[in-house]
């Protein structure tokens, strides 16, 4: 009983603080505006109508209630009520105190915005629903408590936790779906299923890009490029276990090769898309090896920081005065030509989506083959224990360089396509955050496997686009989600599996592979 109350008080305090934070960053008005838009008001203006703000407050209360009751499936209704109510009340009191302070600011006309920028008088008035301060505070607290009670009600009728727990527990429906699919295509009729699957896929791949507008084509394309990057980095980090933080440098090399060889400024060489792409890939691979040679002895985070440095060096050099005449300096390079295919221009958004899909298929194919081969096993051995791998006859230096080179080549490919798609590339495209994005996506998705990488790319590059409506709360939400994902699924959205080997019978050496779960 006591512990229950103590817990719910703690929850109340936590969420009270969260709500205070939300108000201080004007999150409430932003949500209010979104609610207004959803309810069909076309131009809600800067500050939404009071009813939407009240709705927001109730939602907050609901949240408090739900989280107060989470992991408390089997409580008697009375206790649930108690817990929810206490939590709600506590957070309501905290918010109330904040609003009291805000009232003070409002009444004494103190100009606080130098310190907390959102606290304009209008905003304070709006937060108090345009009512008299006292009434406003009362309504707020009432709304929060009401919300929490609502949560209790919900919890008692529908066993909310069950849903919530399940939902939180995993997105494994994806994995299940995937497994079902596996069984389907491994099963008796696998050939038929494969034909069906491939044809469906082909149809989808060909027609979807035509259906949806240029915007989603662009987003889809970006995601595709990041899938390629992700696979490349997966070879380096996921398979051979070298933590590289400056990965985007190889991307930059690909992009700039494309730009320099294929734009009127600064050199007007105009090699055409395909040779430039090829050269970009090769140069990227080469630079991977050159970076690798001196730092082969480094491990773990030493490697990380050195590669991070490498990335920054490339970026700074690209924009520096020293190379301005060669790389266009901070201005970057414009009007990069698109590809030609059979003498026809091949550079509409849709075409690029096809191009990128092709790139993704190629990358996945290569990744897949390598992963299952002797090479892949050598990499895994190095990741697991470099010394022993070496002592078991793995030429570690060769394989580590190989991993760097191939991973870099993937990045070069993506970079080339990227540059010619945007018809522009500049030094600030290739800042540290980009590298970090790629690393995040392979880990969020689940390191070392292709579906994971794809899902990760969708999450990390698609999500910000979907979060656009959040205006400049976007990255805030993004950061929070990143942490949340790591906490809820440390092994990634789709965990890796080790392939299962059957002994090939001498007659028909067809070796089958199934999946066995594997704790990373």
């Amino acid at each position: 009983m006591k512990t229950l109350i103590r817990q719910s008080i703690r929850t109340g305090i936590t969420y009270g603080i969260v709500q205070i934070f939300f108000i201080l960053i004007a999150f409430n008005t932003m949500v209010g505006i979104m609610l207004a838009k959803i309810s069909g008001i076309k131009n809600p203006g800067e500050i939404p109508a009071a009813k939407f703000l009240i709705a927001y407050t109730i939602l907050m209360g609901l949240w408090v209630g739900i989280s107060a009751l989470s992991k408390k499936k089997f409580l008697p209704a009375g206790h649930k009520l108690l817990a929810g109510f206490t939590a709600g009340l506590v957070s309501a009191i905290l918010v109330g105190l904040l609003e009291l302070a805000m009232t003070g600011i409002l009444v004494n006309k103190i100009f606080i915005r130098d310190f907390l920028t959102v606290l304009s008088f209008d905003f304070i008035k709006a937060t108090l629903f345009g009512l008299t301060p006292v009434l406003g505070i009362v309504v707020t607290m009432g709304a929060i408590v009401l919300g929490s009670l609502l949560a209790v009600g919900l919890n008692i009728v529908t066993n909310l936790n069950a849903v919530q727990e399940h939902w939180k527990k995993d997105l494994s429906f994806l994995k299940n779906l995937n497994d079902k699919f596996q069984r389907m295509i491994r099963g008796k009729y696998h050939l038929i299923w494969q034909i069906v699957g491939i044809s469906i896929l082909a149809v989808a791949v060909i027609f979807i890009p035509m259906k949806w507008g240029s915007y989603w084509n662009y987003v889809f394309g970006t995601v595709g490029l990041y899938v390629i990057l992700g696979l490349g980095l997966n070879i380096i980090v996921g398979l051979s276990g070298q933590l590289v933080l400056g990965y985007i440098a190889f991307f930059a090399i690909g992009a700039y090769t494309m730009a320099l060889l294929n734009a009127p400024e600064p050199h007007n060489l105009m090699w055409g898309f395909w040779p430039a792409l090829l050269l970009g890939v090769l140069l990227a691979a080469l630079s991977g090896i050159l970076l690798g040679l001196p730092i082969m002895r480094l491990r773990g985070d030493y490697l990380a920081i050195v590669t991070l440095g490498f990335g920054e060096i490339i970026r700074i050099l690209l924009k520096s005065d020293v190379l301005t005449d060669f790389t266009g300096g901070p201005r970057g390079i414009q009007n990069i030509q698109g590809p030609m295919l059979f003498g026809k221009p091949f550079n509409s958004e849709v075409d690029f989506v096809y191009l990128i899909i092709a790139g993704v298929l190629l990358a996945s194919f290569v990744y897949n083959r390598l992963q299952q081969s002797r090479t892949g096993r050598a990499w895994l051995a190095i990741r697991e224990d470099e010394t022993v791998a070496r002592a078991s006859g793995v030429d570690t230096i060769k394989y580590k360089l190989l991993a760097l080179a191939i991973g870099a080549a993937f990045a070069g490919l993506a970079g080339g396509i990227y540059a010619s798609r945007n018809q522009f590339t500049g030094p600030d495209e290739h800042a540290l955050m980009a590298s970090i994005n790629v690393l995040s996506l392979i880990i969020v998705g689940g390191m070392g496997n292709i579906p994971g990488t794809i899902l990760g790319a969708f999450t990390l590059k698609g999500l910000p686009e979907i979060l656009r409506e959040f205006a400049n709360f976007r990255l805030l939400a993004f950061g929070a989600l990143l942490v949340f994902m790591m906490l809820s699924r440390p092994e990634g959205l789709i965990p890796s599996h080790r392939p299962k080997y059957d002994e090939p019978n001498e007659v028909s050496g067809e070796m089958k592979k199934k999946e066995v779960p594997h704790d990373q």
Binding site: K42, N43, I200, Y215, V223, S320, N422, Q423, E429, I450
Partner: protein, 419 residues
């Protein structure tokens, strides 16, 4: 075999994304739900004016719809202050713009992070939104370069307050215009002014490595040498830092009479302050329109005395500007110009676009038609538009702010005319 696995997931996720797509589309206040998409693509039948009878067609607004002016700006990340500030300025312009027989204006500011990737994403989003008639932006040159071709296709005119990268107007785009102060004539005039009027013979040139700052600095250096002066040292600093004593010390060793800085107030102010501690007490500091503003004064205080800047010729404190400043402070709790030097330009870009839209808009049987082709042309032929940050007349290449700059100096803690 294995291949099937990822292909499958790939496909499933593609589907999911489309779903998200629709979700976002319905959630967003995209006019697609109101205005028939077809109307924007092809000439519409019925009451549509013949102005719509071309490939680009018209943007059509039902009663109660909002005319949207887009803006692509960095709202997050290291440069967010520019995006947020300029969009805030533009927001005020929208409320000042009034309405066309009941149809009001609204600003749709989207985060492009200042990068090409973001710029293209935002441009595609705007291109897909029939309610967007024009774009006040983009803010950074990289984003702008990637966005231009996309707007070109759908006939959305741009009017950028701050994308100063010279090649942008050289690429022959019909939709791109800017009221940003042209580097070329600002730089040349500044150099002449320093050499002739101030009589400086030895000058050091610094810039912040951005396309704007570097572009300007290079021009100034070249012209100054042409005039017969000596550029003793040209150095780039790393923006975003706040200790430049090292670079200033090396500059001091060359004993220049003046320092020209191409860049923004953030670094400019630090330089001015640290000049005093690095043996450059007696050298003049000469900034550009990027270092002009109230903020420079507050940040440099006494050190700022005698610092020069070159600005677009607008009477520094016209009544309009004063009212704007008041409105800005009231609405956003900051002095106008304290976040970036482009507040006023942001206002001007949005206001000018709104005004142009008013010119071309046609009302027919309860609907508002905005012919896109006409709008593009109208923006390009903008002339003698008097704004807060200058008077704009667009050249055929889209440069709209080409007048001779005006030079100001800090005297007794205030910007005063230097001529």
């Amino acid at each position: 075999m294995k291949a099937m696995k990822f292909l499958a997931v790939f496909m499933v996720l593609a589907m999911l994304l489309t779903a998200c797509g629709q979700a976002a589309a319905t959630e967003a206040p995209v006019a697609a739900t109101e205005a028939p998409v077809a109307a924007t693509e092809a000439p519409v039948a019925g009451g549509a004016p013949e102005a719509c009878a071309d490939a680009l067609g018209c943007a059509v607004f039902e009663a109660g719809d909002v005319i949207k002016i887009g803006m692509g700006a960095p709202m997050t990340g290291g440069n967010a202050s520019y995006g947020i500030d300029i969009s805030q300025g533009a927001t005020i312009a929208m409320s000042d713009a009034g309405d066309i027989e009941g149809w009001t204006f609204a600003l749709d500011a989207q985060d492009d992070g200042g990068t090409a990737e973001g710029g293209a994403a935002v441009a595609n989003k705007f291109a897909a939104d029939p309610a967007i008639v024009a774009v006040a932006g983009h803010i950074f040159s990289g984003a702008t370069a990637a966005a231009m071709p996309i707007y070109e296709k759908v006939g959305i005119p741009m009017l950028s307050p701050s994308a100063t990268n010279p090649p942008l107007t050289a690429s022959g785009s019909t939709v791109f215009n800017r009221i940003a102060f042209t580097d070329l004539n600002q730089g040349n005039n500044a150099a002449d002014f320093i050499y002739n009027t101030l009589g400086v013979k030895k000058m050091a040139v610094l810039h912040d490595g951005s396309d704007y700052g570097k572009g300007l600095a290079d021009i100034v250096a070249a012209q100054f040498v042409k005039d017969g002066g000596e550029v003793v040292i040209e150095q780039a600093i790393t923006p975003g830092e706040s200790d430049y004593t090292a670079v200033l010390s090396t500059v001091a060793a060359k004993t220049p009479d003046a320092i020209y800085f191409g860049g923004y107030t953030a670094e400019g102010a630090v330089l001015v302050n640290q000049m005093k501690t690095t043996g450059l007490e007696n050298a003049k500091f000469f900034g550009c329109d990027g270092t002009y503003g109230e903020d420079f004064l507050t940040r440099t205080g006494a050190n700022g005395e005698g610092a020069y800047a070159s600005i677009a010729p607008a009477s520094p404190d016209s009544d309009a500007k004063l009212t704007f400043n008041a409105a800005y402070l009231e609405k956003f709790g900051k002095e106008a110009g304290s976040l970036s030097p482009y507040t006023w330009a942001g206002y001007d870009a949005a206001a000018a676009l709104a005004a142009t839209v008013k010119q071309v808009a046609v009302v027919a049987d309860g609907k508002l038609y905005i012919p896109r082709a006409a709008l593009v042309a109208a923006v390009r032929s903008l002339s003698n538009y008097v704004g807060l940050s200058g008077t704009f007349t667009c050249q055929s290449n889209g440069e709209c702010n080409t007048d001779k700059p005006q030079f100001v100096v800090v005297k007794d803690g205030a910007w005063t005319n230097a001529e």
